[in-house]
Symmetry: C2
Subunit: 298 residues, 2 copies
């Protein structure tokens, strides 16, 4: 796993050896806005999955912050509940400072956990927005967490998070506003256009703090997995995921070449010319691409 | 502007003609979590800038949603305050469905508004997380909005939003919890490691709804701009921005080639082989790149 984070030179060889052993794990993305209780829910979900006899690999993808260089708070400490359990592997990953960031290293790490034989791989991300789109790209099932008091259902729709969800979970469902949030979410989901055959994301209430609703949440996630298999969508999603992964690696290699080029196609010189108004980005991109043939190989 | 969104074939020619006229505008990114009052603040900021005699171009970048195909709520309606003002241009842009998404089309649109002579270009994004990183990349100054009751300052730090901010604005500063939020933000900022010469992001209180604090906010933004110029950071940021822009265009062109390739390097076939465990993403990326020489030109 450190090799993945460090982009070790041996990684391509490892990927080649792992390939035949991948594809068995149920990959679940867990996401939601700060404050919904992502770490608590991930923790409770691990416990529910372990109670059902399944092994769990967890990737906690945090934006690396200058304040901490990684996870900021005591969230990870709570993950320590599972410290002595050999059926659980938990790893925090930094989101930045890599060639392709999340898009690059997370799928590789999922691949390692999958090939290692974990029944379920949970990928927990911090934040909403673009990062969710990425999680939706790499998971079989995207679980979106919400909680009352953190904006309403319409704001959730506005932030684009409903369309990425396969399963919705309203955490802190014992708090005031939970009924309203579930109602708003139902209304927003009903507004969306779906084919009759499409999966309709269920909304599960839970209180992750005490485990309420967690076995039911596991049931919802399994229902989605079963639907993915019966509909053929699992293969489609995984091909799409592989496509993004291949593209990310190819682009990362090109980027590192572009950063290293000398002569006419030096990206820094091109950028300085664009910033000064002496060139435009299209012309500069053309110069970069024209110089590729000598530098495009792996 | 429609050409930019539609990726019109004439865009490279337009970019060439605009290039000598760019670089004058003050480009300000406005971002923050759903519920902080981004549209209200943008609206009040426009009014304050107009009162100071400056023309304003606004790009509102919304994730396009299946519910709406764009902006969901009545936010844009309030922007109608400025409908009859020739010194204000407002345009909503869809974030998805493009070759390179935001990374691709937003910088081009900024370029158009800049060359058109607007004194200030405001880029308002919805959501937090990755999208903010992108805003930080394309703006001279990134204004991060926060509000009491939407999670605390530590959560803001956790979501990685403080490190991208050049100016922080606590909106709804008349509400309970505003003092606490300002206090937490100060504490979080003090924890961060900065060189003595570095810019220290100021925290401005405001009530955008009635315009309180908006002239002061304009002052903060101008102070940052002045600092950018005196420190030389403006040229560095703009070169970095141009670099990302050139790269995004080059990558978008490669992606469209990869999608169109036939024969051994068809990306879909490569992805299907990776998904099936018959290949691995590194090997597949190598095949893509090896096939580039015939297809890399502009």
């Amino acid at each position: 796993m450190s090799w993945v984070e460090d982009e070790a030179p041996g990684l391509p060889e490892v990927a080649r050896l792992l390939a035949p052993h991948t594809g068995r794990a149920q990959v679940i993305g867990v996401t939601g806005a700060p404050g919904v209780g992502k770490s608590t829910t991930t923790n409770a979900l691990i416990a529910a999955l372990r109670a059902a006899g399944r092994s769990v690999g967890v990737l906690a993808v945090d934006p690396s912050s200058p304040f901490s260089g990684g996870a900021l708070l005591g969230d990870r400490v709570r993950m320590g509940d599972h410290a002595g359990d050999g059926g659980v592997f938990i790893r925090s990953m930094a989101a930045r400072g890599h060639l392709g960031g999340l898009a690059w290293s997370t799928p590789q790490a999922v691949r390692v956990l999958d090939a290692s034989g974990y029944d379920v791989v949970l990928v927990e991300t911090v934040g909403v927005g673009q990062s969710e789109v990425e999680v939706a790209g790499l998971a079989d099932t995207t679980l979106v967490l919400l909680a009352p008091g953190l904006g309403d259902g319409i704001q959730a729709a506005k932030a684009g998070i409903l369309e990425t969800a396969d399963v919705l979970c309203v955490n802190k469902a014992d708090r005031e506003g939970a009924d309203r949030l579930v109602h708003d979410l139902r209304a927003a989901m009903n507004l969306s256009e779906r084919h009759p055959d499409d999966w309709r994301p269920p909304i599960q209430r839970a209180v992750a703090r005490d485990g309420t609703g967690m076995p039911e949440l596991v049931g919802r996630l399994d229902e989605h997995r079963a639907w993915l298999e019966s509909s053929g969508d699992l293969a489609r999603r995984r091909t799409r995921r592989a496509r993004a992964e291949v593209e990310a690696i190819a682009v990362a290699r090109l980027r590192s070449r572009w950063a290293d080029l000398s002569g006419s196609a030096d990206l820094d010189d091109l950028a300085a010319a664009v910033a000064a108004g002496d060139s435009d980005p299209y012309a500069a991109a053309g110069v970069l691409l024209a110089d590729l043939p000598d530098g495009a190989g792996p």
